[in-house]
């Protein structure tokens, strides 16, 4: 099956592993990811104000291109996924935003939010199925204790994201079980890592992310997974004396599927 694919800026630079392993694993799982041509940065944050139109244009261009090809649009980065899904919802539900953006972009060929945006984890769960992934695993993670870290952007607001239970999500736990790891249950898996505030107040973001990592370590986690480059950065910069490695979920998938060489001790 062929999907449109929106990598996003960070996946082309600082988070190459998130992107590369997503593509390589898709290949093994017989999924074709077709990168959107001329995609532009999603903006990093959802433009929440009703009168912000220019900042909604780049997501709409990507959504429309996938729509023209009648393909669902797959994203991996939590932030891109959040922005694309919410702008898509605006195009579906806000007559004013839809009318103005279409009038600017291409009046004769309007976009009305037809494209379905799915996260790579949803692709694994809903389109491929964790059972099938389990069958394809060559190097199971041998019960390694991994803490799933969801953060904010995948889950909230549920009304639009409709991704998983916003207070007690389980998709990452199911994923970890499928690749042979042992998911760790801990308190702060859907709390904020500090996000972009690290640019303005690094210390404050570190406090947020270190308390999350500590909560995971208290429950015996030997590693954490995330889908978001900024969460990973904040967690790794929490400043704890002892810490645990933070992986992109695609990295561990690649390891389990035999796409990536196993790391020492992993």
């Amino acid at each position: 099956m062929v999907y449109s694919y929106y990598p996003g800026c960070t996946l082309k630079a600082k988070a190459k592993k998130l992107d590369r392993y997503a593509r390589e694993c898709a290949h093994i799982l017989e999924i074709e990811l077709e990168e959107i041509e001329n995609w532009q940065c999603c903006g990093g944050v959802y433009p929440g104000m009703a009168d912000e139109l220019a900042t909604r244009l780049s997501p709409v261009r990507a959504l429309r291109e996938a729509g023209e090809k009648k393909q669902d649009l797959v994203t991996v980065c939590s932030a891109c996924h959040h922005v694309l899904k919410r702008v898509n919802e605006d195009m579906k539900t806000s007559g004013e935003i839809r009318q103005k953006i279409n009038a600017y972009l291409e009046p004769e060929n309007g976009y009305e939010g037809e494209t379905k945006v799915i996260h790579y984890l949803e692709l694994l769960r809903d389109r491929i199925g964790f059972d099938r992934i389990k069958e394809k695993v060559k190097h199971p993670l041998n019960g390694k204790k991994i803490a799933p870290y969801y953060g904010c952007l995948l889950l909230r607001p549920f009304q639009v994201m409709n991704f998983d239970d916003p207070e007690n999500p389980s998709i990452m736990e199911e994923f970890l079980l499928a690749i042979g790891a042992q998911p760790v249950h801990y308190a702060l898996k859907n709390e904020c890592c500090g996000g972009y505030v690290t640019v303005e107040d690094e210390k404050f973001a570190s406090e947020k992310s270190s308390s999350i990592m500590e909560a995971a370590m208290d429950q015996g986690a030997k590693g954490m997974i995330t889908a978001c480059p900024l969460c990973k950065y904040n967690l790794e910069n929490g400043g704890l004396k002892e810490d645990i490695p933070v992986y992109y979920f695609t990295e561990l998938l690649a390891e389990a599927l035999g796409v990536k060489e196993q790391e020492e001790g992993t």
Partner: protein
Amino acid sequence: MREEILRISGVNPSKCMKCGKCTATCPAFEKMEYHPHQFVDMVKNNQISPLLESESLYCCMTCLACEERCPRGVKPQKLIEAVQVIKLRASGANRLKPQDVAERLDPSLPQQALMAAFRKYSR
């Protein structure tokens, strides 16, 4: 200004029943002078000037916990963002300037952090 805030945010602060759940769940609580429930109350009562001058405007991490956990669907985050946007739209009011981030550019900082920070702190 109150009307402008309500218009761009789409929030109706009169729906608030003052349960305080937004503030209780806010991860930036300890850093804020005005807390999420106060933003809602103060915008409702047209006390906007103190909010515009407060550092609390820049504490929100847009984690949306307040929105998700509000039993009345008020969306306090949108209200905080609206006040912030009104403030930043004034000429020369940018909170973050490119020259300010030079010292923060450590090699592993992801692009999305800068992109998001500039979207949030400048116009």
